[in-house]
Symmetry: C2
Subunit: 150 residues, 2 copies
């Protein structure tokens, strides 16, 4: 029997590779659901989803909530404003802080996108039974808290 690969890393079994492969396919599939039709990118979609839930927050708060770099947030916000999907003002109390809200058009668009996206998630979740779903939830939480520990 061949001992060639003994003790050596096999990419297809390597957790970071497997996670990255799965995540990339899912992210691309998800983006395809809205990118062509609505002309927004994943950063923009995440910001819209977050603002739909938490109106009136600043760019910095947005970035913190969705783990996005402040430069990426700034660019996505600019793009969303240019498209008339987002309204930005600066706070009276602290004129550095932005106050962000979806416009009517932005909220309407978001409402059209949301079912497409949740439907895609449902198709993922429906490939698992209820036990597997709770295991997945548990494992993601456990791994995530492990890698984010100080």
């Amino acid at each position: 029997m061949s001992d060639n690969n003994n003790n050596h890393l096999v990419l297809e079994k390597f957790l970071p590779y497997r996670l990255s492969y799965l995540t990339n396919i899912i992210s691309r599939s998800l983006a395809r659901l809205y990118s062509e039709k609505f002309d927004i990118n994943p950063h923009e979609w995440r910001i819209m989803a977050n603002l739909y839930r938490y109106p009136n927050i600043s760019a910095a708060e947005t970035g913190e909530k969705i783990a996005m770099d402040k430069v990426a947030v700034s660019r996505a916000i600019k793009s969303l404003c240019d498209k008339g999907l987002l309204h930005k003002i600066f706070s009276k109390e602290d004129r550095r802080r932005s106050v962000l809200n979806l416009t009517k058009e932005g909220a309407d668009m978001y409402q059209q996108i949301e079912p497409l996206v949740t439907c895609y998630e449902d198709s993922l979740l429906q490939s698992l039974n209820s036990q597997e779903l709770s295991q997945l939830d548990h494992l993601l939480s456990k791994l995530t808290s492990h890698v984010t520990e100080d």
Copy 2:
């Protein structure tokens, strides 16, 4: 009680977002293990890992094995060749096909990197018990085959 978020997408519970968040942290941590010290990027590292295991394969076969775009493969191969880590010739039988191999320097470097990387994977895996490990393996396989179905 607030009904605000009923039926609405919550990013922190959304599977594609959770996967992407976890994967990004892991990918960055992994890259940090070798990028500064050995001056290679994740594409280059994956190609090295694959060639260490499967010598004498072509760029196209490499790309297929590690799910990497042919342009990305071409660029990473060029960079590895420039650094003297990879040796590329073209096949006698089919002069379009490349035949790739790590150089002595490339193989030596890979052997230094591999334990760093497997050690990081071990730290991830050791945060789970044996039951969770087999659940994780099962879930990743199941989700991956679900999303790669035609």
